[in-house]
């Protein structure tokens, strides 16, 4: 496998054909994506204090509108589900769980996988060989199967789901951290620090870590997107968080053929929220990756 042993130089600038150095821009699309993410995270965080309808209340109105689900109207912006619960506020409340799962999973993967990769790339030797083999084993395991295995054997709390997806993100994160660490370990500033008698732990934390984190910021965004989608996949198999609504579970409620035919808004509302969020994360991650010129992010 030819992995990322390419130089990670030329961070914010790239050479154009005539040899001049042009400054790279993130572009307005990047900021649009960030704006959407800020909006959805803000709504999710502030949900209890916003004038939203109670996500678990049943707004049944047999006389006026007949049987639920009700189609989108001024009263219910995105319609209601079969139990006449307001889809708009359910989507916002669902974002709370989905986003927490996504961020927590990636944070876990970064702390564990990032550390293993960073240390492996720096110290080499048996530790590197062993951890690389474990990562190959993890990568050769179809991710969803592993997630199914863990979630089916444990209690499905928010914590377990986030942990499961976090474990899955260890291998790709560690691979990138290792290759970045390998490259930077060869650079002059590390040699200089060594020559000045710095301890290995000092070099890894103060010299390597800040440099390795830069190319990995793109992976954090892409990884969050993958984790949010994976939660949705688990929800479809009935293996997501047991309590509370997530986007995946909301989509599932509207996914059976009859509901899909008669009231598509029940599943299409949360699909739209999920799609926009995943797209924003992917796009922002892609732009960052180009900006920092990181190649091969295997996820």
């Amino acid at each position: 496998m030819s992995t990322v042993e390419e130089p990670l130089e030329s961070f914010a600038a790239t050479e154009t054909a005539d040899g001049t150095v042009a400054e790279k821009k993130l572009g307005w699309g990047f900021w649009l994506a960030i704006a959407w993410l800020v909006l959805i995270v803000g709504l999710a965080v502030l949900a209890p204090w916003l004038p939203l309808k109670d996500p678990d209340a049943n707004f049944v109105d047999i006389q006026g509108k007949g049987r639920p689900p009700y189609s989108p109207s001024g009263d219910h912006w995105m319609g209601t589900d079969q139990d006449a619960r307001d889809m708009f506020s359910r989507i916002i409340y669902g974002a709370r769980v989905s986003l927490v799962v996504g961020f927590a999973a990636v944070a876990f993967g970064f702390v564990v996988g990032g550390t293993i990769g960073l240390v492996g790339g720096f110290v080499r030797g048996w530790f590197d060989r062993l951890s690389s083999f474990v990562m190959i084993v993890l990568l050769s395991f179809p991710a969803l199967i592993l997630a199914i295995l863990i979630t089916s054997l444990m209690e499905r709390s928010l914590f377990t789901i986030a942990l499961t997806l976090g474990i899955l993100s260890i291998a790709p994160v560690s691979r990138l951290a290792r290759s970045a660490s390998l490259v930077f370990t060869e650079r002059e500033f590390v040699t200089a620090a060594r020559a000045m008698g710095a301890k290995p732990s000092h070099i890894m934390i103060r010299e390597l870590l800040p440099n390795v984190l830069i190319p990995m910021s793109a992976l954090a965004l892409l990884g969050t997107a993958v984790a949010i989608v994976a939660e949705g996949g688990l929800a479809f198999l009935g293996l997501s968080v047991e309590k509370g609504a997530t986007w995946g579970k909301l989509i599932l409620i509207g996914a059976d053929s009859r509901t899909l035919e008669n009231s598509p808004w029940v599943s299409f509302g949360p699909i739209l929220a999920l799609f926009l969020t995943v797209m924003a994360l992917n796009y922002a991650g892609d732009r960052l990756r180009d900006y920092f010129d990181v190649r091969e992010l295997a996820l």
Partner: protein, 318 residues
């Protein structure tokens, strides 16, 4: 470049590690005895249930040390005997269940990958031959949208448009139908898997094609008067398929994961449904068998992809 033999050894080591991991997870996190016998498993007071417990322990080797059980299971597995199903006493063995379900999942994967490549090749060529023109920009944008749409969402959208609104395809799979209708029911689920894969493949193909098109032998062919179309399909395509074929192999694993969900949406009783059902009933032998089949397929496929390189481009041969 490592020799093929060395890589084969790595593949086997990898599969052993995967099987040990799965076997350990199933045995340490769950209680196999309880899954075989149900509530009686905890009832050690009653001599009648105690006898049953002893018999079950004997039959399923549960009284042996963990490592021996794993070796026994492995030995049987290699010989094609996947054991008995825990949850259903007297039911057909796991092997029968697998041989009923596997062909469906296999067909779904083959159809999905074939569709993906058939879509990706013209798509990638169209994009690469007009690099950075509007056609290429539109293709970049649409592939980006496709990749951002999760499989289950795409599946629901396709089902809504083509099965419910247009009524071109059936809503669910029926095993009793003649094979043409069963194949017909596979089109939408396969397409659900194929579209995002095709988007990824065409991106890779496009990048490699753009590089190839700048090489001297392309210029030579053009100078000799070979038609543009012929240069694209017959000269440039083959040496440009490297990245695509690598990811084709890696993607097989991802597709298996996606297939589980797609089988749920389109109600196809394949391996994906089987593993979900088995997990809910904690039917360990079934789960183990499916995980091993999937992992083996995944690893072996990647091994073959590695070998295939040298056939595709003689320059890689050592």
């Amino acid at each position: 470049m490592r020799s093929a033999l060395e890589r084969l050894a790595l593949v086997i080591l990898l599969l052993l590690a995967v099987s040990l991991l799965t076997f350990a997870a199933m045995n340490l996190l769950g209680d196999p005895l309880f899954n075989i016998l149900g509530p009686i498993a905890g009832d050690t007071e009653n001599p009648e249930s105690l006898a049953k417990i002893e018999a079950a322990k004997e039959q399923y080797y549960l009284d042996r040390p963990f490592f021996e059980r794993w070796l026994r299971w492995l030995g049987d597995f290699v010989r094609g005997d996947f054991g008995v199903r825990f949850a259903s006493d007297g039911q057909p063995p796991v092997t029968d269940l697998i041989s009923e379900r596997l062909p469906r999942s296999l067909l779904l994967m083959v159809m999905a990958q074939t569709m993906a490549v058939l879509i990706a090749i013209p798509w990638g060529i169209a994009a690469a031959s007009r690099a950075n023109k509007p056609v290429d920009k539109a293709s970049t944008f649409s592939s980006f949208l496709l990749v951002s749409l999760p499989g289950f969402a795409l599946g629901l959208l396709l089902k809504f448009v083509f099965a419910i609104k247009l009524d071109w395809f059936p809503l669910a799979y029926n095993a009793g139908n003649p094979w043409t209708e069963r194949l017909h029911a596979f089109v939408l689920p396969a397409l659900t898997l194929a579209l995002p894969a095709a988007a990824v493949y065409q991106r890779l193909l496009r990048t490699d094609l753009i590089t190839t098109l700048q090489e001297d032998f392309i210029l030579m062919a053009r100078a000799k008067g070979v038609k543009r179309r012929s240069v694209l399909f017959r000269h440039a395509l083959r040496p440009s398929m490297f990245s695509m074929i690598t990811v084709f192999g890696i993607n097989a694993g991802a597709l298996i994961g996606g297939a589980l969900i797609v089988e749920t949406i389109f109600e196809i009783p394949g391996l994906g449904r089987a593993i979900v059902e088995a997990i809910l009933r904690e039917d360990f032998p079934v789960v183990l068998a499916i995980v091993m089949i999937v992992a083996t397929a995944f690893v072996v496929l990647n091994f073959l992809v590695d070998l295939f390189y040298s056939l595709l481009d003689p320059r890689v041969r050592t």
